[in-house]
Amino acid sequence: MSDRSERTSRVSRASVRQHQELRQARYQSKASREILAALGRSAADPGDVLDTVVDEATRLCGAQAAQLFLLKGDMFRLSRVAGETPQEYRDYLEDHPIARNRSSTVGRSAEDRHTHQIRDVLEDPDYGRHDLQRLAGFRTLLSTPMILEDEVVGVLSMWRTDVKPFDDRERELLEEFAVEGAIVLRHVDLMRSLESRGAELASKVAQLEALRAVGEAVGSSLDLDEVLDRIVTNAVRLTETDGGSIMEYDESSDSFHVRAAFGSSPDLLKQLRAITIRRESTLVGRTALENQPLELCDLAEAELDPHLDILFRDGWRSVLAVPMLRGDKIVGVLVIRRRSTGTFPPEMRELLQTFATQSALAIVNARLFRELETKTKELEVASRHKSEFLASMSHELRTPLNAVIGFSEVLLDRLFGEINERQAEYLRDIWNSGRHLLDLLNDILDLSKVEAGQMLIEPSRFEVGSVLDWAMAMLRERATLHAITITVQVAADVGVIEADERKFKQVVLNLVSNAVKFTPDGGSVSITACREGTALDVTVTDTGIGVPPEDQERIFESFQQGGRGASKEEGTGLGLTLSRRIVTLMGGRMWLKSTPEVGSTFGFSIPGLPELGHEVASSRHGDLPVVVLVDDDRVSLDLICAYLDGSPIQALRAGDGVEGLELIRKVLPAAVVLDIKLPRLDGWHVLAELKADPVTVEIPVVIASVVDDQSQGMALGADVYLRKPVSRDQLLDALRSVGAL
């Protein structure tokens, strides 16, 4: 029985102990749960959790008091307390924190990084904080380190005022609380760094926003004062100061003046504007000279220059001046001020330097812009003067030329009596010089029109071969005089082009006339036209004196005849310049290939040929009899050309009476096909002129017109009178009847 009862009591003792342990474990886990739950809520205040930690430690470990010490610098300072801790002790600890050494359990546990217990502090010879013991009266001490990322960050400590060591379970419990406390501390740490990062980020964002606004203002075409206002406003707001100003440097007076301000009363501004801030012996000046931010943290203590004096009187107490430089040049100084005393932190200086750079940029940009604007206006005025001058000069000079050319013509034509051969020769010289001057004036006017963008391109469709033949015809007389042969070769796939005919003629005539001019007697000039895709390539090759390589680009410049014997031959010196400009205007280009003493090839390429397969086949057959067609209606001309296609005839075209007459006199064709209603000079007069001139009287004339006046036509000497519309057979018959076919 006793055995049984003994066993029973043993069992029951064990069961009681087990029961107690279980309860302890429950407490413990409940405490942990509470701590962790508090941790979960701790977003608001993690300090609550630490309070929970020390509270639970005191309660669960049967201690009189528990403390949390945190390492600050190299000392442990009291952070949290629970249980019975006298106020005196707490106050005393403030001034006498615990060192990290062996004089306390706190120091020992931190040094050894594990838990330390002193059974009775009064009996520990190494214990050194009897000052604390006297205030709190503890005897048994237990401390355990809180370790975060391998670093001791704090110590959790508890005491009993009687000598009763903490057992292993209590020790383990404290260690667990230390771990939990460490977690909380890490959390707090994270929170704190997050918060500061957040604040840093927010301030960075604000800075970036401000800088963006400033950058935008600098980049925009805003008025400079507005840009600087924005800069100084943003600078003051961002640095949370009270006011600021931008002082612009004026080189001519070697001083600074207020350009923009923020947080400044009208009265202050008025005063600041009234003074001259010299570069010497002022804060603003020194900042610029030394190229570094300078600050005065208490104006009451500082030596005041006139500028600072005004600020001080207006109630300002601290000032930071930041230089605004562009390269090495002083542009100005940004001044930020506060109504309170105090220094300006380095980050603020850095930020303000960015603002200062932006301000400098804005000011420099504005100055450049202003300069550019002035220059542009001056140039515009100059260019307008030039155009007006050219236009009026051209008119003023042409008017007297009209008389020079006209009266010499009157005399040369012996309108009012006979003249002798010498007189006629001199009159021809006068007439030639007048014409030359007129050409020069026309070229100058054309060039100035091209330069002013006033030369318009008027495209039409015309046959390339006809124009080349026309150019050849215009120069035949001169070429024959110098025994120069001119040939024209047009590729079979080059027919009609869409381009400005008048200007095309001008360019071709210029090149061919140059070639004839610079080719020695007995030489040759060949004109070719070929296709390059839908572009037309025209070349004029001579056997002339050539152009040295060094002059080949210069020759296209005004008044350059590039050592091509300019003294012998006269020209305006503007022809090639003008031709190249016209070709460029037509969307093409002009070039030169030349070998001195061998010859030159001037070429140009212009767009406007139809796609292959769409073009009108060329009707040219080398050196055939020429028929001049005079008609202002392009469709009629095209039709007649089409009729003549395949016949052994070269057709040359003229668009009005004057041009027709000129062409006929030059080429002396085998026949003329003449319209009556013509611009400038009508068909009747062309006919009359032809028949009145012994040189042209024999040239047969076929009239093709809607005008029905055969009797007048025949009376004036026309050979055939056709009424439009004219059929192909009618035309061919007519040309046959006059012997042109």
């Binding site: 026309n442 400038r680 002129e689």
Partner: protein, 126 residues
Amino acid sequence: MTPRRILVVEDNPLNLKLVRDVLQFAGYDVVEAHSGEEGLRVAEEDPPDLVLMDLQLPGIDGTETLRRLRQGSLGRNVPVVAVTAFAMAEDRERASLAGFDGYIEKPISVRALPGQVDAFMSGRGQ
């Protein structure tokens, strides 16, 4: 048949003389005017058969003179021809838009002028 009268309005005395002499030689009766105002007065007193008018005149210019001529006694029946120093297409167009019956380019050709003038006179109604 009395010779046909041509009114020449031209401010440059030499050019005026040239045109006058050439036209007189060709058998025309030439009346001179050195400005638009004078041209208007002469045309009012003794209406010509044709007017040759410089475009750039002192005082009222050629275009304005033409407008007043048309409103006055000259009416629409007498051809008025512009004499212009500008050989550009836009100037020709401007002249024709302004209501001139035609134009003669400067420098005038002594040989072509009588024919040109004759064409403008007989060309009416064609």
